[in-house]
């Protein structure tokens, strides 16, 4: 960590807020971001599940796709039904490669005259180059580096945000509304990466510190860092790009078949369709599953999964400690024959074989606002 040159790191528009809140800054996806604040990951995690936390996710890539039929154009790169996505609605989907692997997972919102995209920081360059190249002449992409993204997550998120924008209370999960918060025009979606109710607020960078400081000054709100973001999303069973999904994992293997709509299954027309449609029909050789170690020892990414005879059947892709579960949790890929919930498996940690079980995801029930 000491060898990272901080001068080469990009700065979040909220850097001054992180410093003021004594965030422990680390390099992440080319940015200098807080991994935690003085209270620590456990406290930040639990606060998010019980009250509401503010996360800086400005490193996420934001872009706007315009074109006469931008939704149809983008459908040539993802397997979801974007043409059926109503204005003001958001969808989770994946950019696939020609082998059916996942280039990135992303959120797409129909904003009426354009599509708004939010992609992973580490994949920005790859994604945007891919979209521009493949959609040339059909749609144009504007990358919005001048916007910050603030996530307000937790059961009291709506209660807090409604003080500044009463309409926030009525936004449904995966819907988007343009709201004015403290005279700043914001694009607010009811979404997040914690499994809790909450919002992601896209704001012009120059107003980001004002909005963040305003929200943090509310009694219920505490800042939370990347550490809590990771433990919260793992408990929620959500994939982390580059770990649980990558260019070699297909949406079917990753348990993301639900993003592939009925019409797209019938019509195809997305990269890697041959592989993906075949797997939808015949099943895949491996599957992403939840894995619960039976003892207290956490199994981390890279730990091998074996069957009861000691034969290797897969690998952990995300693993650690679940603060709300109060024990170790993991997810990873196993051969489909061993993917059934309740299957006993072993995890190899420091050359020891530890008992574990395939379990249903998520580890903590989602708490989304659907009206």
């Amino acid at each position: 960590m000491a060898d990272t040159n901080s001068e080469q790191l990009k700065q979040s528009p909220l850097l001054s807020v992180h410093k003021k809140m004594q965030g422990k800054l680390v390099p992440f996806a080319g940015y200098e971001l807080p991994v935690q604040y003085p209270t620590g990951i456990l406290t930040e995690h639990k606060h998010t599940r019980e009250k509401v936390s503010l996360f800086d996710v400005s490193h996420m890539g934001q872009a706007v796709l315009r074109g006469e039929n931008a939704a149809a154009a983008l459908e040539s790169l993802v397997p979801s039904d974007l043409q059926a996505l109503p204005a003001g609605k958001m969808a989770y989907t994946v950019l696939t490669n020609d082998q059916g692997g996942i280039i990135d997972d992303l959120m797409v919102t129909n904003q009426g005259d354009h599509m708004h995209l939010v992609v992973n920081a580490s994949r920005c360059g790859v994604d945007f180059a891919h979209i521009m190249e493949r959609l040339e002449g059909r749609a144009s992409l504007e990358v919005h580096t001048e916007r910050a993204l603030i996530a307000l997550q937790g059961p009291q998120a709506a209660h807090v945000l409604a003080r500044f924008a009463p309409a926030a209370r009525h936004i449904l999960f995966l819907h988007s509304v343009a709201l004015t918060i403290a005279d700043v025009p914001c694009l607010v979606t009811r979404s997040g990466y914690t499994g809790e109710d909450g919002f992601e607020i896209s704001v012009p960078s120059e107003d980001a510190t004002k909005i963040a400081a305003l929200l943090i000054s509310e009694n219920e709100v505490e800042p939370a860092g990347l550490g809590a973001r990771d433990s919260l999303r793992l408990e929620a069973g959500l994939c982390l790009y580059g770990h649980d999904i990558n260019e070699a994992t297909t949406p079917v293997e990753a348990g993301l078949s639900w993003v592939i709509s009925k019409r797209r299954r019938e019509e195809g027309g997305f990269p890697g369709e041959a592989v993906i449609l075949q797997q939808l029909k015949d099943g895949s050789k491996r599957k992403r599953v939840g894995i619960k170690p039976e003892e207290k020892v956490p199994a981390r990414e890279g730990a091998k999964v074996t069957d009861e005879n000691g034969t290797e059947i897969g690998e952990i892709t995300s693993g650690g400690f679940g603060p709300s579960v109060e024990g170790p949790i993991a997810m990873g890929y196993v051969e489909t024959a061993h993917a059934q919930v309740g299957t006993a498996v072993n995890l190899m940690v420091r050359n020891k074989s530890l008992a574990a079980q395939v379990v249903k995801l998520p580890f903590v029930e989602h708490n989304y606002y659907r009206g």
């Binding site: 000491a2 990951i41 456990l42 956490p298 420091r350």
Partner: protein
């Protein structure tokens, strides 16, 4: 006689009283680790050479190793850490100790830092 406390560059501490040593991680180390959620301790009777991997500390984010600051035989592991690993965060230099050992060569202590030298060392890291 007062116990002698020494520190390693890897942020372990060892407190030696006669031929019995108590080993743990420094307050600086626990701050760097963050919330500790699990500890794997050496079994009683284990022979350790100075620098051997002796224990594993798991925080929410990652696993880290504790290397024995001194050679000897483990005489007791701190069982309290099994139920309450957060003792390492709340009391790194006290109740959060990892294990005790019978020291084979107290001369090894001379290669370690005393508290003043260690303070200077961690100031140089920030």
């Amino acid at each position: 006689m007062m116990a002698t406390v020494r520190f390693t560059k890897d942020h372990e501490w060892v407190s030696v009283d006669g031929d019995t040593a108590t080993v743990g991680v420094s307050d600086y180390a626990q701050q760097q680790l963050g919330d500790v959620v699990f500890v794997e301790l050496p079994e009683t009777g284990t022979s350790l050479n100075k620098g051997d991997e002796a224990a594993v500390v798991e925080s929410v984010k990652a696993a880290s190793e504790l290397y024995s600051p001194i050679s000897g035989e483990v005489s007791e592991a701190n069982g309290a850490l099994e139920d309450e690993p957060s003792l390492i965060n709340s009391s790194a230099m006290g109740n959060g100790w990892f294990y005790k050992m019978t020291v084979s060569n107290t001369a090894e202590l001379d290669e370690l830092m005393d508290e003043t030298a260690y303070k200077g060392y961690i100031e140089g890291l920030d």
